[in-house]
């Protein structure tokens, strides 16, 4: 289709306006907000990162008297790929058991207030326990497809709902000289996370997230039991400071 120079000029002008406006939006967003969960495109920023911890409660009907509230450190980093694609990396560390994940998100504004992203992460967990009565190691691969919806309030508050599924790809465990591995892929469960992100002190921004995780297998409990005969509910709180 042939276009006149006037139409081409108009098209370029509109595109430039949108691009500049996006950058302006990005600058305005960055000045006002910092977010890790909120699915805001990285128009101008190159990196975002967050340091924090999660607190997971183990289910009493499974872990019985060993009712643990397991703290776990985490570091999350986002890297711009393009205006609408973001790479995400996350490390959850407890030293005796750790989880690494990396993935890509497609991020898109729906309106000035509503934002959306969809993507997939690949996760690898590993743990080891060599204390009295234990000579155990475990590791495994999972994949986490997710969709995220963000709502920007008039104030400084960013509200995010993330729905994430998990699919078990590979599991390996070793006790003493005995090893077992399984490449059986199965739907492992889902996690619903409601996150709020807002400034809390000068320009520091805080993330507070509540997750309802429902899984057959959860990597943080690998040393207590293998997958359960039904999905088990794990409530988790995440607190993070956006760097």
């Amino acid at each position: 289709m042939c276009r006149s120079p006037r139409e081409i000029y108009l098209l370029i002008s509109i595109s430039l306006f949108i691009a500049l406006n996006c950058n302006a939006q990005d600058s305005a967003f960055f000045a006002k907000h910092r977010a890790i969960y909120f699915p805001y495109p990285m128009y101008k920023e190159q990196w975002r990162s967050s340091l924090g911890f999660t607190l997971l409660t183990t289910p009493q009907d499974i872990t019985e008297e060993v009712r643990l509230r397991i703290p776990c450190g985490n570091f999350t980093v986002l890297k711009k790929i393009s205006n609408h694609f973001t790479a995400e990396g996350r490390i959850d560390f407890q030293f005796l058991q750790n989880h690494l994940s990396a993935g890509v998100q497609y991020v898109r504004p729906v309106s000035k207030k509503f934002y959306f992203s969809a993507g997939n992460d690949i996760g690898y967990w590993f743990g080891f326990l060599k204390i009295d009565g234990f000579d155990s190691k475990g590791s495994g691969w999972l994949t986490y497809p997710s969709v995220t919806f963000g709502y920007m309030t008039r104030k400084d508050l960013l509200i995010t709902l993330k729905v994430q599924a998990s699919v078990n790809l590979y599991y390996q465990a070793q006790n003493g000289e005995n090893k077992f591995s399984s490449g059986k892929k199965y739907y492992n469960g889902e996690a619903f996370t409601l996150a709020i992100e807002q400034p809390f002190y000068h320009r520091k921004h805080l993330t507070l997230a509540f997750s309802a995780i429902s899984n057959y297998f959860y990597w943080q409990t690998w040393s207590l039991f293998y997958k359960t005969n039904r999905k088990v509910f794990y409530p988790q709180i995440t607190v993070g400071i956006i760097l």
Binding site: G133, F134, N175, G176, N178, F180, S182, K227, N229
Partner: protein, 401 residues
């Protein structure tokens, strides 16, 4: 658990109890034909019984290699055929359903019901149907006799954790209950592990956790440590998760000795204090079993240093049967008959050999992952395994060639 009472044929007044010889001859490893996608390629079929006040009840169980599946049926003879009615379950999920099985006269019932049944490969074919949940069973299933069950000369202890399995395994009766003790052989158990605690008035009872909680008991208004309550209080106000009473140790041992075929009881000591009452009860019921012509081994479990010290303070500890979970040195110090390490240290065949050289036995606990159960039975030298899934141990043990 689905209710299998809907099969009218099985309720026929003409249906009669199976002779003992038929039950015994039916036991074996069968090849699964129809239904192998659901249950796997083999099943180990075994009968169990409990003695009631006036009679005995018999159940036939089939243990499968896939998804820790099993079936449990009652069996009868009717018009020259054998019919079996019950339910199946997979322990890796919540899948369960009804199962109805038949051995026609031509498919081997005439052999099994003969005075001297002689079973050969292929001579018995069990056909039937199974379904999901309470729905009418329609999916075909078939088993063909392959070979006898494996039985090593030294025997092997298939031990059920908490007398049969945990409450979280969604079994039809509560963990650590008399009702579970009566059911556990249906899951393949030859012995049980139970948890001993004391009430405020010094009655040894069977209960796992420190306190009364909704994992183990129904809402009662009583909370806190179980040793804060007398047995009368617990008996009057507290019910286990499926409605049973918290049993005393005496009640459980009485059930084992007089009502079951179980041959081993592991008394896991969940408290710190004198072991004298437990020792006395263990000795009393050992004698009672002998008077019944049965050899039931009852051992006091020693899971920690405190229990070992209390055990060593018993006047005749060295001749008291015990099971030590700590080191081989502790086994020697206590003169424990059994060393029971966690499975998480592996098969440890060298240490097990050292224990055997001392004339003792070795058990592994608590092993629930089927792949590890298979490895421990195939590659390990343990004399018994404790599991929440005794049916899985039964499968891997009995199908060995």
């Amino acid at each position: 658990m689905p209710d299998p009472s809907g099969w009218d044929l099985f309720k026929s007044p003409a249906a009669r109890i199976l002779p003992g010889k038929a039950r015994q001859a039916m036991e074996g490893v069968y090849t699964v034909g129809n239904g192998n996608n659901t249950f796997g390629d083999l099943t180990a079929i075994k009968w169990s019984y409990v003695i009631n006040t006036n009679d005995s009840s018999f159940h036939v169980s089939g243990f499968f290699g896939k998804d820790i599946a099993y079936f449990i049926c009652e069996g009868k003879q009717l018009d020259g055929a054998i019919i079996m009615n019950g339910y199946w379950r997979k322990m890796v999920s919540t899948e369960t359903g009804l199962i109805r099985l038949t051995i026609t006269a031509a498919n081997g019932a005439n052999i099994l019901l003969s005075p001297l049944p002689a079973v050969t490969p292929g001579s018995i074919v069990i056909n039937g149907v199974f379904g999901n949940g309470q729905e009418e069973p329609e999916l075909p299933v078939s088993f063909a006799y392959n070979r006898p069950l494996h039985n090593s000369p030294a025997g092997f202890n298939i031990l059920a954790h908490r007398s049969g399995g945990r409450n979280s395994d969604l079994l039809p009766v509560s963990e650590n209950s008399v009702e579970m003790v009566l059911k556990t052989a249906e899951f393949g158990s030859t012995g049980i592990e139970i948890d001993v605690r004391f009430t405020k008035d010094g009655i040894p009872i069977i209960y796992h956790d420190n306190d009364l909680n909704l994992r183990e008991v129904q809402k009662s208004g009583l909370v806190g440590p179980i040793e804060n309550y007398t047995y009368a209080q617990l008996s009057a106000f507290v019910r286990l998760i499926h409605g049973e009473r918290i049993p005393t140790l005496r009640q459980v041992l009485n059930t084992v000795v007089y009502q079951t075929q179980l041959s081993f009881v592991w008394l896991d000591t969940k408290y710190i204090g004198s072991l004298e009452k437990v020792q006395t009860l263990a000795q009393e019921f050992k004698q009672r079993a002998l008077q019944q012509g049965r050899n039931v081994e009852i051992v006091i479990g020693l899971p920690g240093r405190d229990q070992i010290n209390n055990f060593l303070s018993l006047p005749d500890y060295a001749s008291t049967p015990s099971l030590c979970e700590l080191s081989i040195e502790d086994v020697q110090t206590t003169n424990a008959r059994i060393w029971a390490p966690r499975f998480t240290e592996g098969t440890q065949n060298d240490k097990v050999a050292a224990i055997h050289a001392q004339g003792r036995k070795a058990f592994a606990w608590t092993l629930d992952v089927p792949e590890f159960i298979e490895q421990f039975i195939r590659e390990g030298d343990f004399d018994g395994i404790l599991s929440n899934y005794p049916s899985c141990i039964a499968y891997y043990y009995y199908v060995q060639q």
